[in-house]
């Protein structure tokens, strides 16, 4: 099964050990696809995570990465072309 975050055009990766749980990314994502997680990282910060059900809506706009004070977010666009069936 295709992981949900890979069915859209773009996706983000959050570095869990850099993230400090400020949730500025949550507040700026125009698609509302990032949310506070239900767990913490090793430092005890409540991470930001991608909501699996909304992940495919990521447009790769980079707003989350631009506001992240901890350089914890990478944004990628899929280079492969998915066949309609694979979507």
């Amino acid at each position: 099964m295709e992981a949900p975050q890979h069915s859209g055009s773009s996706y983000i990766v959050i570095d869990a050990e850099r993230c400090k749980g400020c949730h500025l990314c949550v507040s700026v994502c125009p698609k509302g696809i990032i949310a506070p997680a239900s767990y913490t990282n090793q430092k005890g910060y409540i991470l930001a995570e991608v909501i699996a059900a909304k992940a495919q809506e990521c447009t790769g706009c980079t707003a989350c990465a631009l506001i992240c004070p901890d350089a914890a977010i990478s944004v990628y666009r899929h280079s492969r072309v998915l066949s309609p069936a694979a979507r």
């Binding site: 949730h23 631009l66 506001i67 004070p69 492969r80």
Partner: protein, 265 residues
């Protein structure tokens, strides 16, 4: 099943090369992290990692050497512009820049920044204004707003006791020396993009030997403002922006030409 394949995919954003992997120690939501990231991005894009020197000041960013993956030097409180001056005059091929807070630049270091600007010294200053002494526990800075709480103005800053806030860009732009003086902010992604453009132009002005360039960045300090990071951005918009209007306060014609060049490119 397809896994993350970042090495195969197009990178739209990634932590800049000029930043070490070492994580920032700043509080959650601190604006210094955003500004450090932007400086590192600009240094990557201008390909000056081998020539850049961060002259750190005293404040929450004093340990910048942990984070920047290029040379750096510590300076005594407020003296960063003097140290950067020496670096530039002795080794003109280096690209020194100072990173200073508002306590550092606008209180103890007022004389240094005024005279570096008056001399038109060919250095760059990134001035992070969070309207407070962050590192030492939230005392009043010269930039603290009237009525604003700080640990040394517990009833709010009163002009009869503590004077009025200093507008650094407005003040320095009256001098003939600076080539570029601008105030930007990092309260949302659009503002962050503009802040990066200003920082890049400031470094390009130095690379073109045009003289002193200074970018003031309005930057949140959620810890000492005593608000959560997201609310700190709203607080910045509501309170700091009216007192410290964004914009370019001084752009000499040669810098304006640089700007046009980048638009054409």
């Amino acid at each position: 099943m397809t896994l993350d394949t970042p090495e195969l995919d197009t990178v739209l954003y990634h932590k800049p090369e000029a930043l070490e992997d070492y994580p920032f120690h700043f509080c959650p939501g601190c604006g210094h992290g955003i500004v450090f990231r932007l400086i590192a991005e600009v240094i990557d894009e201008l390909k000056i990692k081998e020539r850049a020197v961060c002259v750190a000041s005293i404040g929450c960013t004093v340990t910048s050497y942990h984070y920047f993956n290029f040379d750096g030097l510590e300076s005594a409180h407020g003296r960063a512009p003097a140290v950067a001056t020496a670096i530039k005059r002795c080794r003109p091929n280096l690209v020194p820049f100072t990173y200073q807070g508002d306590g550092d630049l606008a209180a103890i270091g007022t004389a240094e920044i005024v005279h570096a600007c008056a001399r038109g010294e060919n250095i760059t200053t990134i001035f992070a204004n969070n309207a407070i002494y962050g590192m030492t526990g939230g005392q009043m800075a010269p930039t603290t707003l009237l009525g604003m709480y700080s640990t040394s103005t517990p009833g709010g800053r009163q002009p009869s006791r503590a004077g009025y806030p200093i507008r650094v860009c407005e003040m320095l732009s009256t001098l003939d020396g600076p080539a570029y003086v601008a105030r930007v902010s990092v309260h949302n992604p659009a503002a962050v993009r503009k802040a990066k453009q200003a920082i890049k132009l400031a470094f390009r002005a130095q690379l073109a030997n045009l003289g002193m360039s200074l970018v003031e960045v309005l930057s949140p300090c959620p810890t000492n403002w005593r608000v959560e990071p997201v609310k700190a951005m709203d607080w910045l918009v509501e309170h700091l922006l009216p007192q410290y209007p964004l914009g370019e306060y001084k752009v000499i014609p040669a810098v304006a030409d640089l700007k046009k060049e980048s638009r054409r490119a």
